[in-house]
Amino acid sequence: MVETSLSGQPYGAGEKTLVAIENVTKTYRPRGAEPVFALTDVNVDIHDNEIVSLIGPSGCGKSTLLRIIAGLDKEYDGTLNWSREPRPGKDIGFVFQEPALLPWRTVRRNVAIGLEVQGVSASEQRDRVDYLLGLVGLQDFAESFPRQLSGGMRQRVAIVRALAYDPQILLMDEPFGALDAITRDKLHDDMLRIWEETKKTIVIVTHAVDEATYLSSRVVVMSARPGRIRSVHTVPIDRENREPSARQTAEFAEFSGMLRSELQ
């Protein structure tokens, strides 16, 4: 495993560890078939307040790793060493590839569901949802139903739903994979703005190197069969320079090019 930093001042890196993933191995043993090694001896630290991307070819176990961090998958070997153990139902925000909204609830009530479950007062729910919808420009759609929104808007709702109860970590499983390129770029900027505003620890699973470069402070590259960590890179682009024009810089091209070659 290699740790590199090409140049420049990375943002949000090198701070306290939120969760240390230690020797995590996951093997599926289907009855009557060869075992599948989804993850083998995975070691990586997730730091407080950073955006880290997990990239790799399909079948490298990156989504499996994300589900293990989320506590959705408990059948694995190894340990997750949290600096603050996540409280059930309060500390994990999760965004799926599909928005997975509840179509019978308005946008407001979709975003509020986590608060509702925790018994937060109605007025507090209202304020919190208004603030979050404002953050992604959907304040006028609070009373709409998901059916009435475009795909990008739905995914924005899914993102703020995951943030509503202020989790200590936001996990995103290929969250922009189902969107068109233009909407995807918009959501990338939304994500950076959300991070600026909340300084959340965010883990994004993706197979798009541009997305990983644009959003993250560090990129974890995984390889397939068995799923292993191949390398971890610090993105050499300043926090201040994360704006659409950054995608045209030589630094950006060089770094994504390097990631792309690692994936081959």
């Binding site: 989320a70 506590g71 959705l72 059930p88 139902g89 309060k90 994990i92 999760f94 799926f96 599909e98 997975a100 509840l102 179509p103 019978w104 609830r105 308005t106 569901i113 986590g114 479950v117 420009g137 006028d140 759609f141 709409s144 139903f145 998901p146 059916r147 009435q148 929104l149 475009s150 990008g152 808007m153 233009i182 909407t183 918009k186």
Partner: protein, 269 residues
């Protein structure tokens, strides 16, 4: 780009125009009924049909008026409607509970499935005499038959509705640490609701079939009993009046479900 999408959606979201006003739709239905009645009346007069074969609509409505005034109608109507309502409600509850159990437990599915298939494959009219034998001529055999007919579509609807809830939504429930009851109430019931309402439309009709079937066979009261009475006494006007009443009860039940549906499924637009 985003603003464009936002505008498009905003323009299309308030669906104020709900088509024709209700009084025009009601008028159209009334016109259909009047035309049908006129043709019926004309046919009876021109072809000179004997009254025991097909009484004129006027005679049927006269009979309806007579039984409404002499007190024959109301207890019988009430009896049947009450049985349908009670049997349907029980059928819905049992169907939803069984559907949930079959969905949630592999063991329950394995054990109960063969019984349910066999029970459902048997034509209910064949079971009806047995029910009379076991439960007697009274209310319990009738209710059993109604429940037997009504629970099945609800159970299937519940199974279908629950399996339509996506894996991601299931994961969401786990991430939010929902208790089984919260998950049932907040996710499963609303998620299965479109299927349940589709099932309820079938269950309404099935429970009516069950009620009339039961009354044919065994009852001394009810709309089914009025039909049998009309039939055996060659009072065809009474038979026709009872049939009209069953149609009215059926429409009422269907309308009720449709009203509940438009209230609960507003989000579908």
């Amino acid at each position: 780009m985003t603003t464009k999408v936002v505008e498009d959606v905003a323009a299309e979201s308030p669906k104020l125009d709900r088509g024709t006003p209700w009084w025009r739709r009601a008028g159209a239905i009334a016109a259909y009924v009047v035309v049908a009645l006129l043709i019926w009346e004309a046919y009876v007069r021109i072809a000179d049909v004997p009254v025991y074969m097909l009484p004129s609509p006027v005679a049927v409505f006269q009979e309806l008026g007579t039984i409404a005034l002499n007190g024959v109608l109301w207890p019988n109507l009430l009896y049947t409607v009450r049985n349908i309502a009670f049997g349907l409600l029980s059928g819905i509850l049992i169907g939803v509970a069984l559907g949930w159990t079959l969905y949630s437990s592999t063991w329950a599915r394995r054990i109960l499935n063969p019984y349910i298939v066999v029970l459902q494959a048997a034509p209910k009219i064949a079971i009806a005499p047995l029910l009379v034998l076991w439960f007697g001529l009274g209310l319990s055999s009738q209710l059993t038959l109604i429940v037997l007919l009504a629970f099945f579509p609800m159970m299937m609807a519940m199974l279908l509705g629950l399996s339509s809830i996506s894996e991601d939504v299931h994961s969401l429930g786990r991430l939010l640490n929902l208790s089984p009851w919260q998950y049932f109430r907040m996710i499963q019931i609303p998620g299965a609701m479109p299927s349940l309402l589709a099932g309820a439309k079938i269950a309404v009709v099935d429970s009516m079939t069950g009620a009339f079937l039961a009354e044919y066979i065994s009852a001394q009261r009810g709309l089914g009993y009025l039909m049998v009475l009309g039939n055996t006494t060659y009072n065809t006007a009474l038979l026709m009046a009872a049939i009209l009443l069953t149609v009215a009860v059926g429409l009422l039940g269907y309308t009720l479900v449709a009203a509940v549906e438009s209230r609960l499924l507003r989000w579908r637009g």
